[in-house]
């Protein structure tokens, strides 16, 4: 029985060691990713990339985030101190969230009040569901982060910032004022992960570390083939559970577009029906995924 101690965070080393267990190589367990062993260095090279890759494979509930976007440009010229250069066909350009992994949707009307509201008696009228707004993820060199010759010590840390390069950056084009964005964020704290997501991360890491951890080429090849199948299954299971747990309907934000489109045709963000039916070409993130799951 453990006594009182410091409640410390789980570190990536724990995931790496679980992956080594999956490879039947517990004797190669690491203490930290900075150990300097072949395993630790391989894990250090691949951990961040695998985490980002896995976060993009589904709209994980634990990684969902809604946040206001940072305005980069306003084509109307109504906003002081920002550029008016926006790609033709769009009104606003916003910066991609610095922790953004994948776009989900862009609600049409941001809340007007941030005051905390306590639950009281039920509302007489249910809230009107938010309609999705039109948006497009693009890139642009019109809004550089680094201007002029900055000393090296003043350079921004672009390695830990999503979607920003020294010249160009990822942007979100939309016509929404004060846009809110719903997206998958980069979740690095292992405590926040869903347990099935965590298992999928272990499986992916085991697959990646197999060539380093297993010396025998024949065993390595056989193990890798088995791990590929296991990783696919683990990820699929995690995605299905994630979809089932996502709320009803499948998103707490809005009715999935494939349902609304099937029943009533497509509606624009202004509420006007264009009379379209079936699938839509707008990236509202409400379509069925390629494996048949709904996210």
């Amino acid at each position: 029985m453990s006594g009182p101690g410091i409640a410390y965070l789980q570190t990536p080393a724990r995931i790496v060691n679980e992956a080594l267990d999956a490879l039947a190589r517990p004797e190669k367990a690491i203490g930290d990713l900075s150990d300097g062993t072949a395993i630790a260095e391989a894990a250090r090279r691949n951990y961040g990339q695998l985490l980002r890759q896995l976060l993009r494979t589904a709209h994980w509930n634990f990684a969902r985030k809604q946040a206001p976007l940072t305005l980069l440009a306003d084509a109307t010229g109504a906003t002081p101190n920002v550029s008016t250069s926006v790609e033709q066909g769009w009104t606003y350009a916003y910066a991609w969230p610095i922790d953004g992994m994948a776009a989900r949707w862009l609600p049409s009307s941001p809340p007007t009040s941030t005051a905390t509201v306590l639950t009281g008696s039920p509302a007489l009228f249910p809230p009107i569901p938010q309609m999705p707004n039109r948006f497009l993820v693009s890139s642009s060199d019109l809004y550089p982060v680094e201007v002029g010759q900055l000393p090296w010590m003043q350079m921004p840390d672009l390695q830990r910032t999503q979607g920003v390069g020294p010249v160009s950056r990822r942007i979100i084009l939309t016509d929404a004022v004060n846009a809110l964005f719903v997206y998958t964020r980069l979740v690095t704290a292992i405590e926040e992960w869903d347990s099935l997501f965590r298992q999928a991360m272990v499986a992916l890491l085991a697959l990646t570390l197999a060539p380093v951890a297993v010396e025998d080429p024949k065993e390595r090849l056989a193990l890798r083939n088995a791990l590929i199948a296991a990783a696919k299954m683990t990820i699929a299971d995690a995605r299905v559970a994630n979809g089932n747990d996502a709320g009803y309907p499948q998103s707490t934000d809005h009715t999935p577009l494939w349902i609304s489109a099937r029943s009533s045709g497509w509606r624009g963000s202004d509420g006007n029906s264009l009379g379209l039916s079936g699938w839509t070409y707008y990236p509202y993130d409400a379509s069925m995924s390629w494996c048949g799951s709904v996210f």
């Binding site: 150990d35 300097g36 062993t37 250090r44 830990r160």
Partner: protein, 213 residues
């Protein structure tokens, strides 16, 4: 566990069947002279050959050069020896007790690093590693240096550990076996049995060389 160099040498001599022990590594006897020549080199070879946990060290590195001038190199501001080799932001001095550099990491923050990033690095030999004066001038002597892009870098490496009290028992045995092979060579003895012993102890040592060894 043996506590002196002489003890290690004598164990190796026992393995070869050599009839005499040494009392002092500097005594000048044939065995002591050979031992003096091969001991340090053999120890360092073995320390470098495996990931012995008792020889792992982490130290903050001393900056020699870098970062490059703002805006990087160009025809007006060309690269010169006062800057780190092109492609790297920093040049650090190589730790004097380092046998095998294993990793470069950044200075730790208040929290564990939950989004680890790899660090690219290279070991070079810089003929002009010392930068002094205004305007700065690079000068010698040549030295082994570490090139990387990590600010306030720390090095994780296998160190030359001469304190035998911190050695693993299996490391001591592997060193004794390796020394015995070299003694046999030096004394013109049969080598097969000793080679087998070295292979055996090296195999056993493999299991003890993990980070938790």
């Amino acid at each position: 566990m043996s506590a002196t160099v002489e003890d290690i040498i004598n164990l190796a001599l026992d393995e070869t069947g050599y009839p005499h022990h040494i009392a002092d590594i500097y005594e000048g006897s044939p065995a002591a002279r050979v031992g003096l020549e091969i001991y340090g080199q053999t120890r360092d070879e073995l320390l470098r050959a495996r990931d012995w946990s008792f020889s792992r060290r982490a130290v903050s590195l001393s900056l020699l050069k870098g970062p490059p001038p703002a805006g990087g190199y160009n025809p007006v501001q060309p690269w010169s020896a006062i800057n780190p080799y092109p492609g790297f932001l920093y040049e650090y001095s190589y730790p004097s007790d380092c046998l095998d550099l294993r990793a470069i990491v950044g200075a730790p923050g208040p929290m564990p690093d939950l989004d680890p990033l790899p660090a690219e690095w290279r070991v070079d030999n810089d003929p002009l590693p010392i930068v002094t004066g205004t305007p700065p001038v690079a000068g010698g002597p040549a030295a082994k240096v570490i090139l990387c892009n990590t600010t306030n870098a720390m090095a994780i490496y296998r160190a030359r550990v001469t304190d035998m009290t911190t050695w693993e028992p299996l490391f001591t045995q592997t060193l004794v076996d390796a020394l015995a092979v070299k003694f046999r060579k030096a004394f013109g003895m049969e080598l097969n049995a000793e080679r087998e012993a070295v292979a055996e102890s090296a195999g056993a040592a493999q299991g003890a060389a993990g980070v938790r060894g």
